[in-house]
């Protein structure tokens, strides 16, 4: 492959980078004197244009067939392109949410950072190479640290960014350490090549160097997907960040990280899974590998995330803990048979990202008008903003997993995938039971939020007007969630089709 064709395959990311440059320069050169609000809108449209062009490029690449550059550093296949499109959509929705009110007066830098983060996510989902995974995670994380700290006049924002950065830096060290050990053990960086090494060497799956490498890598990933005990940054970062940014961190970065983690575990080091089953009647069977680590992280995340969410009084913090719990649910599906587990995770992460984005959209639209993002501030907004209340109901119930919304089927499929691993013995039933019971617990706090929104006596004040740039994306998300909930096969067929064409 030569540089020209590489450039062709990278065109989407190149467009995004160019858009970021244009925004940075245009903001400084041409619009310095303008009013912040107007600048914000103009820059948002520039960003959207860039995102749209990149989406078109990816769409064209769908037709062109697969490609693999230099040991999986860049893998073009329908699945990866699909996820790139998902990330573009998420980024675009974030931009729409930020359009009405500038997060800070540095609007050019804000949108450029969002684009840099999007580029990092795009590279993360498209590579099957350890080095690329690390570099793109770093690009993604660095942009997000800055985005979280953007509201410089607010102390909480700085605190959130600082915590996010400190945890991120440490976990990056873990990740790099782990990846280098895996490289040392397998002598290759690309995930398919790593999987290949297991075939020749039966002892490889139990090689201590490899296992230590995997353990450290999982710590790094655990930070990105915010599972207990690496979740501590999440509530503070979400609370400190502006609502659209928090939504972006909770959706886009989650999608990209989960896709990378799933590929790493299921494509790369699947044979080193080990086991963490408890078969009927109560015969525990634990062997070293990533399975016990993931099972443990999933278990604590589900329990702690849900219990901690109950006590929260701030809506963003509540969503942060709920995202910790959801990360736990998703990990359960990793034990599924490869195809099933992958489908379930990809399905759920998309649904989850959209739903969460919608919930943060509601916070964005309302927080300033009801005087804060504490849950009690939203008391009785149903009369002032009936449409948003209905939307919030859809998002919360989907997160809680109530049919006929997409979150229900997503969870159902995740848990079914968790059981599919060891079907006749139902070895992972213990984890699935935890998941199901804890999601019953989660209804409590989702309903508490809805109670405040919808049941409490109507609050005073006139109707709240919502910018169309926020209303429409949220409405579309809600519709998608509803439709996928009734007919999940549509999305499942897509994902399964893409998986076959990998």
């Amino acid at each position: 492959m030569n540089y020209t064709s590489l450039f062709g395959y990278l065109l989407g990311e190149v467009v995004l980078t160019a858009a970021a440059f244009v925004i940075l320069i245009a903001d400084v050169m041409c619009h310095r004197k303008d009013d912040v609000g107007a600048r914000n809108q103009r820059m948002a449209w520039w960003t959207l244009t860039g995102l749209f062009l990149a989406a078109v490029v990816y769409a064209i690449q769908f037709a062109q067939g697969n490609a693999n550059f230099a040991d999986g550093t860049l893998v073009i296949n329908p699945l990866n392109l699909f996820f790139k499109e998902v990330i573009l959509v998420i980024t675009a929705i974030t931009v729409f949410f930020s359009m009405e009110e500038p997060v800070s007066k540095h609007v050019g830098e804000y949108y450029a950072m969002i684009l840099f983060a999007a580029i990092g996510m795009a590279f993360l989902v498209t590579s099957e190479n350890l080095l690329m995974i690390f570099v793109s995670i770093e690009l993604l994380s660095l942009s997000l640290y800055a985005l979280v700290g953007f509201q410089k006049q607010i102390l909480r924002s700085a605190e959130g960014a600082m915590k996010y950065f400190a945890f991120g830096a440490v976990s990056a060290a873990f990740l790099l350490f782990g990846l280098s050990y895996i490289y040392g053990a397998t002598n290759s960086l690309s995930l398919p090549a790593i999987a290949e090494t297991f075939k020749g060497d039966p002892l490889m799956a139990r090689s201590p160097v490899l296992l230590i490498g995997i353990l450290f890598t999982l710590v790094g990933f655990g930070f990105k997907i915010a599972v207990v005990p690496f979740h501590l940054w999440a509530p503070d970062a979400y609370e400190g960040a502006a609502a659209p940014v928090a939504g972006f961190v909770a959706s886009g970065s989650k999608v990209a990280s989960f896709v990378a983690l799933t590929k790493f575990l299921l494509l790369g080091v699947a044979p080193a899974a080990g086991a963490a089953t408890i078969s009927f009647p109560f015969t525990p069977h634990f062997t070293p590998g990533w399975a016990p680590v993931i099972a443990l992280m999933a278990f604590i995340s589900m329990v702690w995330g849900n219990l901690a969410a109950i006590t929260q009084t701030n809506l963003k913090r509540l969503l942060a803990y709920s995202s910790v719990a959801h990360a736990g649910y998703i990990l359960v599906a990793l034990f599924g048979a490869k195809a099933w587990g992958q489908t379930a995770i990809y399905f759920y992460i998309i649904v989850y990202a959209l739903t969460n984005l919608g919930a943060f959209g509601v916070v964005t639209a309302l927080a300033n008008k009801v005087g804060g993002d504490d849950i009690r501030c939203f008391a009785g907004v149903w009369r002032r903003a009936p449409g948003l209340t209905v939307l919030m109901m859809i998002f919360m119930l989907s997160l809680a997993g109530i049919p006929p919304l997409a979150g229900f089927f997503g969870k159902f499929y995740l848990f079914a995938a968790g059981l599919a691993a060891d079907q006749m013995q139902l070895g992972y039933l213990w984890l699935v039971i935890t998941a199901i019971l804890m999601s019953a617990v989660s209804f409590y706090y989702y309903l508490q939020v809805l109670r405040v929104f919808y049941v409490n006596p109507a609050s005073r004040g006139g109707p709240i007007s919502i910018c169309p740039c926020q209303r429409w994306p949220m409405t579309v998300i809600a519709l998608i969630i509803f439709l996928i909930g009734w007919y999940p096969t549509a999305l499942l067929d897509w994902i399964q089709g893409f998986l076959q064409r990998v």
Partner: protein, 162 residues
């Protein structure tokens, strides 16, 4: 060779521990330079001369000078910044301990493989070639990463006038 490895890594670990334990920031920074030097020594043992040189030039030279510069500018009194936080220390130690237990369990349950030494030429020329062929993509993304970091730092460190 083996003896040198143990000397270098032993001294490196010692210095690294002192970096953490020391209460004076400037002394810590100096110790960190020592850590980098010993690490460069390890690279030399692996015959990765280029990396060793870069390690000294970039880290021990440029980065550390910057560190010291910032410290002098900020003029932080050592007593102000180093307060012992017992619970945090305990938590950190217990996490570290958990990792050691995990290490120990893994090592106990499986045999260490005897890997063949890898043969590669770690000179400037092959590294340069690799950087612009096989690893051109990570290399380019790193430049983007630096840009993002740059913008972020300028933005966050700038004083808000209004």
């Amino acid at each position: 060779m083996n003896l040198l490895f143990y000397i270098f890594s032993g001294l490196m670990l010692l210095c690294a521990a002192l970096v953490v334990a020391n209460r004076h920031p400037v002394t810590s920074a100096m110790l960190l330079i020592l850590v980098f030097f010993f690490m460069a020594g390890l690279f030399v043992l692996l015959e990765a001369f280029f990396l060793a040189v870069i390690q000294v030039l970039v880290y021990a030279g440029a980065v550390m000078v910057l560190f010291l510069f910032v410290m002098m500018l900020l003029d932080i009194r050592s007593s102000q910044i180093r307060r012992q936080n017992a619970p945090a220390m305990l938590a950190g130690l217990s996490v570290g301990f958990a990792f050691w237990v995990e290490f120990w369990l893994i090592l106990r349950h499986s045999a260490l493989p005897v890997g063949a030494p890898m043969n590669f030429d770690a000179g400037i020329r092959p590294i340069g070639k690799l950087l612009f062929s096989e690893f051109v993509l990570p290399f380019e993304i790193t430049s983007l990463l630096l840009l993002a970091a740059l913008v972020g730092v300028v933005l966050l460190s700038q004083k808000e006038t209004r």
